[in-house]
Amino acid sequence: MSNIKNTQSAPGDRQRPTSELETVVIRFAGDSGDGMQLTGTEFTKSVALEGSDLATFPDYPAEIRAPAGTLAGVSAYQVHFSSQEVFTPGDQPDVLVVMNPAALRINLPDLPRGGIIIANVGSFTQPNIEKAGYTANPLEDGSLSGYQVFAIDISKQVALALEGMGLTAKEVGRCKNFYALGLMFWLYNHPMEREEKSIRAKFQKNPKIAEANITAFRAGYYYGETAELFPSRFVVPPAVIAPGTYRHITGNEATAIGLITAAQLASLPLFCGSYPITPASDILHTLAMYPHYDVITFQAEDEIAAVAATIGAAYAGALGVTTTSGPGMALKSEAIGLAVMAELPLVIVNVQRGGPSTGLPTKTEQADLFQAVFGRNGECPVVVIAPATPGDCFWMAIEAARIAIRHMCPVICLSDGYLANGAEPWKLPEVASLQKIPVTFRTDPQGFYPYLREPKTLARPWVVPGTPGMEHRIGGLEKEDVIGNVSYEANNHEKMVRIRAEKIARIVHEIPNATVYGDPSGDLLIVGWGSTYGAITQAVKSLRRRGYRVSALHLRYLNPMSANVGQILANFRHVLVAEMNLGQLLMMLRAQFLVDAVGFHKIQGRPFKISEIVTKVEEILGAREQAELCTHAEVG
């Protein structure tokens, strides 16, 4: 916590001074049975209500319950909050809360020297220490001397606090996370009442457990107050945030409600055919709660059935959506080809994860771009777009639906694990300001052919079964131009391939121009897409503050790309494409624009750190002299 601004006493605190901080990053880490995700989200909620800007990063293992205390079972949740605009969950934690030795071992490398460790000593037993691969107790052997260590026997304290409540030892153990939460509430000056209400609501069905957790929560809070461990409390002043109503939203939630919103704007039923897969399942879970919004969720027997049913629904006049992640996407490819051939609107959400194959199911990656753009048999163009932040998932879901309906084509929306689970405070849009999505079902049999085209968009008419006088047959075999009958005629096939390509290419006229963050020309342009937005933007911001002539271009439309992308690339001396793969967008940009771009790749199942991007740019442009930096900094 290097950014302490001033020290003052906050009202309400007994003696302890309160320091004001601009930015804090806390990581809660423990065994997957320790409830760290819950602790993290509860703390985040409170942070949001205190008015900070924030971003979060949950990081949990693929195993549902790896053996307790092992390295494989460590689950973590990082929250970054600030009085300034926040773009990422933060490179490094300032505070690391560890519930066991394994959590310490896994997360310590990310903690900068001098950082705070709050450790549950109670779990640093000999077997746990060994399970974590330590030979000696790290809390005692001096290896943590470079950090500020606060060792608290949370296990014991919780046991004492809950004595006599008639709980089993297991139930008592489960309350540890709320003790840790209470301690953090005290440390960062958050009000307890709101959280107690929230706990009560969460455990509504089991008042005894609710009371136990509240007791543990209070014990943690009061321990902070009485134990004199910490020299000061901290407060992060509210950020300057645009006025409005906010809620805390993850990318998956935003995608789900964006899809429902799109269907309502189009006055269509929403049909979501899906098969559970991490990290996409939550979209299905969220949609399933809203049958009263004209939402049909169909958990199919596999991804192929999921997309196939969705195509059937689109054919029948619904807004058809199928949600999945990489391996499921692979299974859907043949059916997506059918939707391209049948020219039906279809929204496909791929929440990317590490691959190939089952890969890293719970970790993030951006390596399905080629699959989205090219991954089908035949000349099979589809629209590909990608949201930049969790909240942007809402807007891109609507955009996907709008394009699919208007152009009668599949649209792939590439989210990823980092966006899906990451959260940010999200400003609710005004419902009245949302643009309707016009839908025309053709009902006039006069002069009708299934593959007649709207001259501007080249979209064919959407005729739903049940419409009298328009009975016709469609399918995956090549179609005779306009007429729509099966045709193997050589020139017709070439013509139809070209028309389908042209239909997608023309969408360029209807999507917004890309905007550059920073100056429109300069020494280096960092190009990104998807969830790298935060890290790239923050890196460019800090590089520019230090005088570098660096800008960023974030592509939300990947196929087709916005009309001005080529021009923007040409305005920079260097183009650096930062992505969580081996250079997929890089290859597309080089191929489409003949630009001598270079790539920056990270394929570790983890998002970019801001510092990694900064270092890379410094490497390319050379480190700046301190003096020069200062003058530039003045300019802006």
């Binding site: 409600i257 009263h292 919004y293 169909f298 609710l428 009298p468 009975e471």
Partner: protein, 341 residues
């Protein structure tokens, strides 16, 4: 003739269901007879053409929708039941027929077929069984006879064949029937029954592929042997077969079926009951086959159970009643919100 006839929609005829596409099956293919049967039955259903959708997968039989002057969707290999499910859930008012082959339905699409049946989606599924892959020119299918020599199994197929009726009953299909391409009256009867059924109606149709598997059903369907090799099921009637109807089927005390000679007296024989809710008896029927037993044709099973689409509509209605019809304002404000001013 009454005066309101002019107001009514003209009664449809077989011709109204014939599309303008040339039928391109091999001359002599059993598919023609099935097409004719379906085109005959359609007008009798009293359902307007636009309310009928034919969905198919890939295979010779799956070209079927092109030849019907209704709505049609020729899709991808094996996936027709899933596509049809999506259509039905979106538009429960449509009558949807799924056309599939033994390869399409039981091999690549086996998963979708069984799950559609277990869910009881209101679809009529017609599986054209020629015990061969026709469109890809003669490889074994999941119903091919064990040991059969084909291009892909020159030394004999090692696979054991599926029995489609057993698969359907094992998947808890609510309507299960079998008929034969060349027996037009019976075929039409079964199709009408399938059309009347609410829920998944699964119909196996013996179909001759005269090019790659000619005569595969001859040993049971040939005029000369048919009466001894086929057991024609009729609800409420004893299981009797044979040229002079002198053979019947009854249960041994150990619950295995046996064929007995009868002389007019049918007491003690099994009485066919389509409506039994337990699957045991219907499953037993599905297993009957030569040389010891005749093969059943007709309706094995017809039980009324709530369909997936009915349950879905009902659930949506209940949630709407409890929570009110959703609106965007409520959706966006769900969960905890806070104001920044």
């Amino acid at each position: 003739m009454t005066q309101c006839n002019l107001e009514q929609a003209p009664k449809l005829t077989r011709k109204d269901f014939i599309s303008d596409q040339d039928v391109r099956w091999c001359p002599g293919c059993g598919d023609y007879a099935i097409l004719a049967g379906i085109q005959r039955v359609m007008p009798e259903l009293g359902i307007p053409r636009e309310k009928i959708v034919f969905v198919s997968g890939i295979g010779c039989s799956s070209r079927f929708p092109y030849y019907m002057n209704t709505y049609g969707f020729h899709s991808i290999h094996g996936r027709a039941p899933a596509i049809a499910t999506g259509i039905k859930l979106t538009r429960p008012d449509l009558m949807i027929w799924v056309i599939t082959g033994d390869g399409d339905g039981l091999s690549i699409g086996g998963n979708h077929l069984i799950h559609t049946m277990r869910r009881n989606v209101d679809l009529k599924i017609l599986l054209f069984n020629n015990r061969i892959y026709g469109l890809t020119k003669g490889q074994t299918s999941p119903t091919s006879v064990h040991g059969m020599k084909t291009k892909s199994t020159p030394f004999g197929a090692l696979d054991r064949p599926f029995n489609p009726l057993s698969v359907a009953i094992g998947s808890a299909a609510t309507f299960v029937a079998r008929s034969i391409d060349i027996d037009s009256p019976h075929l039409q009867y079964v199709l009408r029954r399938a059309a009347d059924h609410k829920g998944t109606a699964f119909v196996e149709l013996y179909q001759n592929c005269n090019v790659f598997n000619d005569g595969t059903w001859e040993s049971v369907t040939d005029k000369d042997v048919r009466s001894d090799r086929l057991l024609v099921l009729e609800h409420g009637k004893p299981l009797v077969f044979g040229k002079e109807r002198k053979k019947g089927i009854r249960m041994r005390p150990d619950m295995s079926p046996e064929v007995v000679e009868i002389d007019g007296d049918t007491s003690g024989l099994l009485i066919h009951d389509e409506t039994r809710t337990d699957e045991g008896y219907h499953f037993m029927l599905s297993r009957l086959s030569g040389p010891d037993f005749p093969q059943p044709v007709g309706v094995l099973r017809a039980v009324r159970e709530p369909t997936y689409d009915e349950l879905m509509t009902e659930q949506g209605r209940t949630v709407s009643q409890q929570q009110g019809k959703g609106n965007l304002e409520k959706l966006l404000h769900a969960g905890e919100t806070w104001m920044v001013s």
